[in-house]
């Protein structure tokens, strides 16, 4: 991996990051290699408190692996990473994690509030004794995402959008300084995508929570994204959406001609692998 395309030059002199002495996320010359396959390396990125960074790229580009590094579940091969100025450790309360929506069995013996309370002390051993402070924290988190009405409903009987609200409440219940989201909008309908994205946006604005948002689909979050990290096959580009989501930058990243169309306030990317899988999706999205 000696030859480096020009797109790997770092666009890291972002004003937000420079202005704050302790970035929420700090990656310095980070690299991740599995065997002889390098997902990415020489990745330097400072994410400021309250900044919203979208991580895009085709499957296998190492987007989820980047989240796993920040979660402390995956060690960097090279370089260093800190969250809130401290080294990452697995299970840190400074990090909230929102995964993809997955279906729960309707008879699963877990209510909405139980799912959220896992975020408080689900990792602790021993019998969970009733705790007023836990109940208060859970109620607060449920109220923050507008889930109070179905707090006692079984999670398996809730819609995908309602479940994702609960996951956000679960991730926020420890009051983290960084929110890591791994395709949280996948398999939600448009209205719910918007509602869930708005919740995340509201949170980071009110509490200065940094957001790292892995997605295939930038359009639902486009208005809130400060910067994009676009990963393709070991190459990457960091910058504002307007700088990165262009035909020339993506063509350079993919090493193949890519067309980026702007249709109203939507972006349509034509010619990527990801487009081949999700093309229908993109076209549908572009219509409204």
């Amino acid at each position: 991996m000696t030859e480096r395309p020009a797109v790997q030059r770092l666009a890291n002199d972002h004003a937000l990051a420079a202005s704050n002495p302790t970035p929420a996320v700090h990656l310095r010359d980070a690299g991740l290699t599995f065997g002889d396959r390098t997902l990415w390396d020489h990745l330097s990125l400072d994410i400021a408190p309250g900044e919203f960074v979208a991580v895009l790229g085709p499957n296998g580009a190492g987007k989820t692996s980047l989240l796993r590094v920040l979660l402390g579940m995956q060690k960097l091969t090279t370089g260093s990473v800190t969250v809130d100025g401290r080294p990452v450790n697995r299970g840190s309360r400074r990090i909230g994690y929102v995964p993809q929506q997955r279906n729960f069995d309707p008879t699963l013996p877990v209510r909405a509030r139980d799912l959220v309370s896992f975020g408080v002390d689900g990792h602790r051993w021993g019998i969970p004794l009733p705790s007023r402070s836990r109940t208060a924290a859970v109620n607060r988190a449920l109220a923050q995402v507008g889930a109070t009405r179905y707090a006692d409903a079984p999670v398996g009987m809730l819609s995908g959008g309602e479940q994702q609200r609960l996951r956000i409440a679960q991730a926020l219940v420890t009051d983290p300084s960084v929110l890591l989201c791994d395709e949280p909008l996948l398999s939600l309908d448009l209205a719910h995508q918007q509602a869930v994205a708005d919740l995340i946006d509201k949170r980071r604005k009110e509490f200065d929570t940094a957001v790292v948002f892995v997605t295939h689909e930038i359009n639902p979050i486009l208005p809130m994204v400060d910067r994009v990290l676009y990963l393709v096959d070991g190459r990457f580009r960091i910058g504002a959406p307007d700088e990165v989501m262009t035909s020339s930058v993506l063509s350079e990243l993919y090493g193949a001609p890519i067309d980026v169309l702007h249709a109203g306030d939507q972006i349509v990317v034509l010619g990527t692998d990801h487009h081949a899988h999700h093309g229908e999706h993109d076209v549908v999205k572009a219509i409204p």
Partner: protein, 323 residues
């Protein structure tokens, strides 16, 4: 002995003429079955406690597979170590524990995803059952032992078995008390649990070990074919009427104890095997709970809870300009 005659097919009453329920007959026989009642109580508590975790992990089929391997293990122990030995009960119990713990841990290693696991269990299960049948056929001892492991022999539970059962119950209950919360977290939401630092794989293995022990004990009492009646049915019933992890556990313990102890008592008058009474009670409870659950869902449990009207009304009211 009254207690052994209960199991003998020759003691079957004429179903048309004999009584099905008689208090005098029950009180007369109770002293002979108090061991069985204690066993039923312990098993009910065990099954009721572990059931919600089985349900949360989607392990019903693994439990069935484990119980068949427990039967095979017991049958193998009887054939290879039980000949000419007086205490065959202990040997069978040991064999069935080894069989079910091995099977449970194996199913745990097979992975988290129920779909991958289920086909593997479906492959192993008939093989184990077939081996068990073969071992029993080759065993030259008394024939009354032959199907005890399949359909249950609670009435003839020995003191040794009771002690073993109590010891296992203490281990399983202590283990569950320590790890129930992270285990439920890991079962419901493995990705987030792992991100939060829960040792998901390690917990799976320890849980499967405890499950194997529980299944082995239950096989001793209700038999391999009917284990599901104490480990699955009570929780399935409880989950129809509540979604709170605590209350599902409480109800499933109650249902399992009522099924096990009630089934034993009900079987005394007609002098029939206990298993059908245990399973019928469990099934009846399940049916009642399904009806209650259906009514709850129709009234809006799935969505906004019983009080759904109140907040909407309050919100609508507060939206009006006051005074």
């Amino acid at each position: 002995m009254m207690s052994t005659s209960l199991l003998m097919p020759s003691a079957l009453p004429d179903p048309l003429r004999s009584e099905w329920f008689s208090l005098p007959s029950i009180s007369e026989q109770l002293p002979y079955v108090h061991g069985a009642l204690i066993a039923g109580l312990i098993l009910g508590v065990l099954g009721g406690l572990i059931g919600p975790l089985i349900q949360a992990r989607d392990l019903a089929f693994a439990v069935h597979g484990t119980s068949e391997m427990s039967f095979a293990g017991g049958a193998a122990a009887l054939l290879f170590f039980g000949q000419g030995v007086a205490a065959t009960g202990t040997i069978v119990a040991t064999g069935s524990i080894v069989g079910s713990v091995l099977a449970a841990v194996l199913f745990g290693v097979l992975g988290q995803r129920a779909r991958d696991r289920n086909s593997a269990i479906g492959v192993i299960l008939p093989f184990g059952l077939g081996l068990g049948v073969l071992f029993l056929a080759l065993y030259p001892g008394r024939s009354s032992n032959k199907f005890g492991l399949l359909i249950g022999q609670i009435v003839s539970v020995s003191d040794n078995q009771l002690w073993l059962l109590s010891g296992v119950a203490v281990v399983v209950i202590a283990g569950l008390a320590v790890m129930a919360r992270p285990l439920l977290f890991a079962s419901v939401d493995p990705d987030v649990a792992a991100a939060r630092g829960v040792p998901v794989r390690g917990l799976t293995l320890v849980f499967m070990l405890l499950l194997g022990l529980t299944v082995a004990m239950t096989v001793q009492v209700v038999g391999a074919l009917l284990v599901l009646a104490l480990l699955i049915t009570p929780t399935a019933a409880a989950a129809r009427i509540t979604a709170s992890p605590l209350w599902v556990t409480v109800w499933s313990v109650i249902f399992a104890v009522v099924s096990a102890v009630g089934g034993i008592i009900l079987s005394l008058t007609p002098g029939l095997p206990t298993s059908p009474f245990i399973t019928s009670l469990a099934f009846a409870i399940y049916l009642v709970c399904r009806v209650i659950g259906a009514i709850r869902v129709r009234r809006g449990w799935s969505k906004r809870g019983a009080g759904s009207l109140t907040p909407v009304a309050v919100a609508a009211g507060s939206a009006q300009p006051s005074h």
